[in-house]
Amino acid sequence: MMGRDLLGIEGLEREEIERILETAKHMQEVGRREVKKVPTLRGRTIINLFFEPSTRTRTSFEIAGKRLSADVINFSPSTSSMTKAETILDTAKTLDAMDPDAVVVRHKVAGVPKRIADELSAPVINAGDGAHEHPTQALLDLLTVWEEKGRIDGLSVTIVGDLLHSRVARSNIYAFQKLGAEVRVAAPPTMVPAGIEALGVKVVTRLREALDGADVVMVLRIQKERLEGAFFPSIREYSATYGVDRAKLRFAKDDAIVMHPGPINRGVELSHDLADRRPGVVLDQVRNGVALRMAVLYLLAGRRGEPREEGRS
């Protein structure tokens, strides 16, 4: 049984994660049909509330909702008339009055989905908040690795890049550890968050050591514009020391796979070649994202109002 919301991986039990992954497996089958649509969420309303621009994640949620026949509404306060004068709680209460069946929230500041969930009666799905969590990304990454390796237990996972600002890193640290993998992280010392060891990971400074014996190499996006010059001296130096390419990958296991949450800075954190070809699995991640988000919407948006429907039948 899952909780009402999906705000992060940190609070999930292993069994809940496994249930989502199993459900996603069924949803993958829908995606392979000629008519990629089932009536499961017909008559339900899902609001994509994206305070921070995001094409990929929002589109993925939108497609997932539509394949389940839900009515999906995109609401982007950052581009609408909303000003700072409207508080987050105003927004939440306004949406609540429209009686949605699920609200998918993205915000540049950590904690906003939780604050909204505290106000809303509908389930809230966190689509990424600050450097906190991005649970559906971690779940789709689990699904991808599960497909590739047939297991998560006992795998060695390495996460490389801007740990300081990465919600993907935090969610994946929780997700892979909960399912029995060992997680190492590697970043320049300027981009290692204080006390990250408390999350149970091993922190490694040098990439070579981090890659040694890894089954899965997860490369994080570098926000070049914001970080260059402040957290590392130059793109050239970052790419040389932490960029993952086929040559550096030889330190990992022979059958290691390479993942990236996108969008990729090609040639910076990940070589062009690995972005497109195996052992890179970037497009499989994107594909699995739709199925995974269908599973989450099904499990959460599908539940609300269950008693009402029973009453009607």
């Binding site: 700072k84 500041v109 950590a110 904690g111 908040d129 968050p193």
Partner: protein
């Protein structure tokens, strides 16, 4: 001739090292007698059984928001909150609009306080014009107008040369320079204490070193200048240690710590409640321990609330955008009494840090119960249980991490200059 007879309480006067069951007689605004067999005629009686009878509490650090931000607080509402919290005097920071960097603003605050506030109000003037950290204020004129200290508070003076001159020049005014010691560059985008909790929450960290490094700088500059430096709201173990060492080598430094930095850690931020956001931020358990030890051994002289009212809608935003600060006046007594209950401070030492020392730092009367002294008196019932309902509070704002919490200990009567200004059953009585 008005007389108030405070009967049967535990009288605590740190200035006289007095801790005894005594009656207190107040006559014409002054302490007239202390004794165990007083039987005055025609006096209003106040039953103090089960209570501490102490000099009225003095808060070195509050924001009354007037002039300019009266929707958050004003001198009347902040003064009432102070009276209800057991304070007989508060020192208000200069970050009003207009800034208190000119004697006319100091005059305004004092005029307003005379008519509106049940407690004494001591204006702290800005150290630099407009809190811009560039040109120092007319400290002599401000001092003459009634400013008790100089501070740019949250607008930390980052230029060390300006800070040096402010400290040097403050000697002319004979008043302390109060610092909010946080290096803005090291704070960066930080919104809560840097550490494992911030990492879990995904919020940008404000490192302890931002405070500790700035305190180190200010202590060295104060030593060079021979000035009185008062370090506001100390929150880090490193700063406590630096202050202890500086004091030992003779630097004229005093320091305060807030109720929240004595009792809450950064784990209070786990629910993203913006009423746990303030500057400096809530720190680690080790920092809290160091602050408590520092207060107990006298390295930190005083408790100050940093009462910082913000309207509800200003805090109903994301954690990064939310303004810093929480209410403090109405909860300081029960919160800081935790240290007495934990055996870390005796009742007498508690009163010293909440009344006697802050009065001494500001060179104001108060902080003692000597015969002939102005009768600023508080009665505290250390066992009284109550629930803090911000809607029933006297502040205009509600931004408190203790909202709705069960509290133990409460100020039940406050006298200012012999006038009963607050009684727990009757509320704020005057003005």
């Amino acid at each position: 001739m008005s007389r108030i007879w405070i009967r049967g309480g535990r009288v605590l006067d740190p200035a006289a090292e007095l801790d005894a069951m005594l009656d207190v007689l107040v006559e014409d605004g002054r302490i007239a007698a202390l004794g165990d067999d007083l039987a005055p005629t025609g006096a209003e009686r106040i039953d103090a059984s089960g209570c501490w009878v102490a000099p009225g509490l003095v808060d070195l650090h509050v924001h009354l928001r007037e002039p300019g931000q009266e929707y958050k607080e004003d001198i009347a509402s902040g003064g009432r909150a102070a009276a209800a919290g057991g304070f007989s005097a508060v020192a208000c920071m200069a970050n009003t609009n207009p800034v208190n960097d000119d004697p006319s603003v100091t005059d305004f605050i004092l005029d307003r306080a005379r008519t509106d506030s049940p407690v004494r109000v001591y204006p702290v003037a800005a150290a630099t014009q407009g809190l811009r950290g560039q040109v120092m204020t007319e400290m002599v004129a401000l001092s003459a107008a009634g400013a008790v200290a100089f501070s740019d508070d949250g607008a930390t003076i980052m230029d060390p040369a300006v800070m040096r001159r402010v400290l040097e020049y403050s000697r002319l005014a004979g008043a302390p320079v109060i610092v909010h010691a946080e290096d803005r560059h090291l704070v960066g985008e930080g919104v809560m204490n840097e550490g494992p909790v911030a990492t879990r929450l995904g919020l940008p960290g404000n490192p302890a070193i931002a405070e500790t490094a700035c305190v180190a700088r200010d202590l060295m500059l104060a030593e060079l200048a021979g000035a009185h430096l008062h370090v506001g709201h100390v929150s880090t173990a490193g700063a406590v240690e630096l202050i202890r060492a500086a004091r030992a080598r003779g630097v004229h430094v005093t320091a305060e710590v807030t109720p929240h930095h004595l009792t809450l850690t950064d784990e209070a931020c786990l629910g993203y409640d913006t009423n746990t956001k303030m500057a400096p931020p809530l720190r680690s358990a080790a920092d809290v321990r160091a602050c408590r030890e520092g207060l107990a051994d006298g390295t930190l002289d005083a408790v100050a609330t940093d009462h910082a009212p913000h309207a509800v809608h200003e805090k109903e935003v994301d954690f990064a955008e939310a303004p810093n600060g929480i209410l403090g006046l109405e909860t300081a007594v029960p919160v800081v009494l935790e240290l007495v209950r934990a055996g870390e401070l005796s009742p007498l030492e508690w009163v010293r840090r909440c009344s006697t020392n802050p009065a001494r730092i500001l060179k104001r009367p108060g902080g003692r119960l000597a015969v002939g002294a102005p009768a600023d008196v508080v009665l505290i019932d250390p066992e009284r249980r109550w629930t803090y309902d911000t809607a029933k509070g006297f502040s205009k704002s509600r931004n408190s991490p203790w909202a709705g919490k069960e509290m133990v200990g409460r100020a039940v009567v406050t006298l200012v200059g012999g006038r009963l200004v607050y009684h727990v059953d009757r509320g704020v009585v005057v003005p």
